[in-house]
């Protein structure tokens, strides 16, 4: 998989909510086909802002975002989705007043009409629980079910790259384990997964590559094992998660 061309290339990205006060200061990352890239770092490192900026939700000051070689930096968010870049926000990531089915149908509206039913069926295969909840308002789902629906919604468009912002936040370890297994399945289907996580232990367990961001800049990059095996790095940036490296979640 290492020789595969990068699906997502982020080059020297500078982005922030206010003019003159960038939160992300020249970050560069790459995500390849069929790999899980995990973004780690202390609070305020700019991880969430980075993925939101890539998704077009935070203004980009400079830098480039390329998807399979195409420059998508200036594209509106909805057009990025059509291009194959999907994003799951950390919170408020499902439409609570819509049913489970309507959440999926909404995302499927970007597809040609002939593909919609089959894509929803494909997603139901990956998340069979959602099929039994199809008429339920998404606001009535448990935290774990909502997270599954949010990921399912993002997968409807068969993205090339799937970005998730702290999907394990607020979930029980069992649900996190289940969710991360699903992410591995998604990775194995050829999707490039970019994962922002505070749950370092679980994230390192599924990561193929790790970027550590500090104060809005790239600090470290490497395989999870190599980073976690350095006690100083692990203690400083990875929450002392040495023992978790290489383990399954």
């Amino acid at each position: 998989m290492t020789g595969a061309p990068p699906l997502l290339e982020v080059e020297a990205l500078v982005a922030g909510y206010e003019r003159g006060a960038p939160v992300v200061n020249g970050v560069s990352i790459v995500a390849k086909r069929g790999e899980i890239v995990v973004l780690l770092g202390p609070n305020g490192a700019g991880k969430s802002t980075l993925v939101k900026a890539i998704a077009g939700l935070v203004p980009v000051v400079s830098g480039r975002v390329r998807l399979a070689g195409d420059d998508i930096t200036a594209r509106p968010t909805h057009a990025m989705v059509s291009s194959g870049l999907a994003f799951v926000p950390q919170t408020e990531n499902v439409f609570t007043t819509l049913t489970v089915t309507d959440n999926l149908k909404l995302a499927a509206q970007t597809l040609p009409s002939g593909q919609r039913v089959s894509r929803i069926a494909d997603v139901h295969l990956l998340f069979p629980d959602l099929e039994t909840q199809r008429g339920q308002a998404a606001g009535r789902l448990s935290g774990g079910q909502r997270q599954m629906l949010a990921v399912a919604r993002a997968l409807i468009v068969a993205p090339q790259v799937l970005m998730l912002d702290e999907p394990s936040a607020g979930l029980s370890p069992k649900v996190v384990h289940h969710l991360f297994r699903k992410l591995q399945e998604i990775r194995d289907s050829g999707v490039g997964v970019v994962l922002v996580e505070q749950n370092v232990r679980a994230a390192l367990g599924i990561a193929d590559r790790v970027y550590v961001l500090v104060e809005g800049r790239n600090r470290l990059e490497g395989a999870p094992g190599s980073l976690a095996s350095d006690p100083a790095i692990a203690a400083l940036y990875l929450g002392g998660a040495v023992a978790a490296a290489g383990e399954s979640p």
Partner: protein
Amino acid sequence: MTLQFLADGLIAGSTIALGAVGVTLTYSILRFANFAHGEFISWGCYLTLLIAGPIGAWIAASADAIGPLSVGWNIVLAGVLAMALTGLLAIALDAILFKPLRERGASITAVMASFGASMALRALLEVLFSSRPAYLSRELQIAIPVAPGIRVTPDQIALVAITALLVAGLHLLLTRTALGRSLRAVGENPALARVAGVDVARVIRLTWFLGGALACASGVMLGLVVQIRPTMGSEILLPLFAAAILGGIGSVPGALIGGLIVGLAEATTVELVGSQWRAAVAFLVLISVLLIRPTGLLGRSP
């Protein structure tokens, strides 16, 4: 005492309901109380009047009354064209005024700006058409007895039927179509809607268009039962907001029920207390709902 006031209330309520549907749609999707909505009603009615004349002159037969109604096909056709034009007027107002404020996050400023837009649009109508009353039709209609003590004109029956059709159509659009799903998604969470692949800017334009078109329809209905004046829309604005809030902001069926209740309450007050209290009814309804049940009859808690 006759029961005529009940029919009068339902007829007035239908007009209020149609306007309130536009208010509730704009508010629920854009999170914005547009006080210029009343002017869309006035502009819609005047545009209908403006277009109907040439159509009537061009096709003389179109000006003949349709069956028992007091208006001809020229008014119907002009009304449809005016709905589109009023929708475009609403989109233009958003592009020029509200969109820049929305992008700066100045939501309260946008509400204040809508007051300014309201005054400007009303003044422009007075400049263009003068404040002398105008009429969609000067035909005299004979009211038909429909129940003991209740008589209504064919125009009034048509008004209630068209309101019911438009509200039902909008409700189906919102609940049964892909477009409606997008509208509801943007109303709940615009950022997530973008992430889900919805072209939010297009949905916002569509919301303005629908709101403007419905306001125009409301204006034409109003123009059938009252004199057409530049102030006709602003005078009905408070009952519209009272109806939208009573029904529950964001609920189309709620706006219909709210409109009918406000219309009936006004007519009952005129009948039992006195016409001088009519204007106070909408205030009373508004304050009562906000104190007792802020989410309205069919609204959801945020």
